[in-house]
Symmetry: C2
Subunit: 312 residues, 2 copies
C-alpha cells in the first residue's frame, strides 16, 4: 500500500456567496464539506486511480469525527483506509469563500489543535508500524501547533531506516529541515522553491535543492508544467495547452501521480506525463480536488516531455 | 420557567484574522465556538440573571451535537435546560470574521438544515408540552428551510391557547404573519420596524405595528435606546451616554430583560430601564453575547425613562 501522512488534517468547507463584501453579512447559498489536508487529498486521488492507500496523521474532536466519517463514505475507486491517530484537540476547519460574481476564493484557515509530546510519540509509533507495509510514503502539508519544526526530518529518517521511498511536500522551515534528512523526492511549487533556495531560476533552484539533500526534485511551475531534476536526468513536462479552471488540488494530484509512478516502477518521463495530465484534469474538474477522468485520458498522450542536457 | 424557541440554532464561530483581504489566504489567529441562534443567546443571559430557562428548537448532525455540548458546559448562573428536538439535517454554522486591524466583522451564515413536515410536527408537540410549564415564551430568529412562513403565527396561537405570554423576535414575512396572530410583545429594531410598517418614523411605526396585532411593541433604536408602545402607555428609555463596543447580542439582552420583567411582574418603566442597562452592558463586554455585570449594575440607576403623551 501507499501511505500518506497529514499531520494537520482539516474539515474543508466551501461556502458559495453571491458576492463577498468585507464588513457585511452574507447568506451562504451552498455549503460543501470535504475531508481535507494535502495527504488526504493525495490519498483520495490514489484511491480513484485504484491504488490501496492508507492515511495517517491526527484527527480529534467533533470536526475530526466528521473528517473520518466523510473519509469512510468516499466512494470513488479504492476506499482509503483510515489510520489516523486520535488527539484531544479538535481538527481544524478551513473555509473557502467563493464569490459567485467573480469566481474568486477567499481562504480562512484555522491553525489546528496543539499536539502534545505524548500524542507525537503515539503517532511516530503508529507511523513506524505502518511503514512495515508501505511501498511508498508521502509527508504532506503544514505542521500543527506543538510539533517541533524538525518533525518531517524525523519522519524522513524513519522511512529511510525502513527502506520505504519517501516524498516530502511541505514548505518553509519544515521543508528546509526535512530536506537535510535526504528524502527521495520533494515537490515544491515555484514560490516554495524560491523560498528554499533563494533563486527564482527553476533550473538553478532545483539543482540547489538536490545539493541540500533531496535525491530528486519535481518543481511545479504552474502553466509551464513540471521540471524534474533527478539522479537519472532532468526533464520538463508541459501540458498541450494551458487549462482554465479551479487549481485547488492540482498539486496534490501531481504528488499522487508521482507516488503511483514510483510504486509502478515507471520511468521518469512516463511519471511526469501522468503527473501533468492528472494535474490538468484536476484543474478541469468542476469539483475542487477531483479529476476529470476523460480529460486525464485524452491529455496524457499529448503531454510534451523534453529532456534537459543540463542535468544533475 | 421561561421558554425560548430557536428554530435555526447555530454553531457560532468567531475567527480573528490580522486583516481581511478578499481573494487572499488568511491564517486565523483565534477561533471561538459558541452555541448560537437568538433564543439560545437569550436563554444564556436569562440563566446568568438567575432565571430557570428551557431552550427548544432543532439541533442535528455533528454541529448540533457540538451546540448541545457547549450549551451543557455553559457555567455562568443558572444552567440552561436543553429541550432541543433532534433533526436529520446538520445544524448550521455562522462565521464572524473579525478584522483585527479595523475591528470590523464580516458575517457568513449557512442557511441551516431543511426541516421535514414530520420534524415540524414533532417540534409542535414538544412545544405544546413545554408550554404547560412556561411562564413566558420567546420565539426568536429566522426560520430554517422547509418550515412554512406562517410557522411563528402557528406557535403564537399555541402559546395564546395555553395562556402563556409570548414575545416574537423575528423579521420579514415571518414577523408580518406572526403579528397577525396577536403576540403579547414584539421587539423589532429600526430596520425591521420600517420593513414591517413602511414608516421610518418610530412613533408612527410602533403604533402601526400594534394595529397589525402586537399587544405591545418595544423598538430598539440603537443609540436612542428603546421605544415602547403598550396598552398601558408609551415610553422611551435611553442610556446615560452612548457606549462603544461589540453590539453582538445587545438585542438578545433586551429580549432577556423584557422576559425577566414580564415574569417578575415589574412595571414597564422598570422593565425598559433594565433592558437598556443590560443591552449597554452587553455592548461593553469584551466577549460577544455576554454582559458586564458591574456595568449593568452601575448603568441601571442612570437610564432615563420618559413617558410619551402620544401613547397608544
Amino acid at each position: 500500500m501507499i501511505l500518506t501522512v497529514t499531520l494537520n488534517t482539516a474539515l474543508d468547507l466551501t461556502y458559495r456567496v453571491p458576492a463577498l463584501h468585507p464588513h457585511a453579512s452574507h447568506r451562504v447559498t451552498q455549503v460543501i464539506e470535504r475531508p481535507g489536508g494535502k495527504g488526504l487529498n493525495v490519498a483520495r486521488v490514489l484511491g480513484a486511480l485504484g491504488h490501496r492507500t492508507v492515511v495517517t496523521g491526527f484527527a480529534g474532536g467533533p470536526t475530526g469525527a466528521t473528517v473520518r466519517d466523510l473519509l469512510a463514505r468516499s466512494t470513488a475507486g479504492h476506499p482509503v483506509s483510515d489510520a489516523l491517530v486520535p488527539v484531544s484537540g479538535a481538527t481544524r476547519r478551513t473555509v473557502a469563500v467563493v464569490d459567485a460574481a467573480t469566481g474568486d476564493t477567499t481562504q480562512l484557515n484555522e491553525p489546528g489543535p496543539v499536539i502534545s509530546p505524548g500524542e507525537w510519540a503515539a503517532f511516530t509509533r503508529r507511523f513506524t508500524e505502518l511503514l512495515g507495509e508501505a511501498r511508498a510514503v508521502a509527508l504532506c502539508g503544514s505542521l500543527p501547533p506543538g510539533i517541533h519544526v524538525g518533525a518531517y526530518a524525523e519522519l524522513v529518517r524513519l522511512a529511510r531506516a525502513a527502506a520505504v521511498p519517501v516524498l516530502l511536500d511541505t514548505s518553509g522551515e519544515p521543508l528546509r529541515r526535512g530536506i537535510a534528512a535526504r528524502p527521495d523526492l520533494i515537490k515544491p511549487n515555484a514560490a516554495e522553491l524560491a523560498q528554499l533556495t533563494g533563486s527564482r531560476e527553476p533550473h538553478d533552484a532545483t539543482r540547489d535543492a538536490r545539493r541540500r539533500g533531496a535525491h530528486a526534485v519535481v518543481a511545479s511551475l504552474g502553466r509551464d508544467g513540471l521540471l524534474a531534476t533527478t539522479p537519472d536526468g532532468a526533464w520538463q513536462a508541459t501540458p498541450p495547452a494551458p487549462v482554465q479552471g479551479n487549481p485547488t488540488g492540482a498539486g496534490d494530484s501531481v504528488v499522487a501521480a508521482l507516488l503511483a509512478g514510483l510504486v509502478d516502477g515507471t520511468d521518469w518521463p512516463t511519471r511526469l506525463a501522468h503527473a501533468v495530465a492528472l494535474s490538468a484534469a484536476t484543474v478541469l474538474s468542476p469539483v475542487a480536488g477531483e479529476f476529470d477522468a476523460a480529460a486525464y485520458a485524452s491529455l496524457l498522450p499529448r503531454v510534451t516531455v523534453r529532456e534537459h542536457a543540463a542535468a544533475a
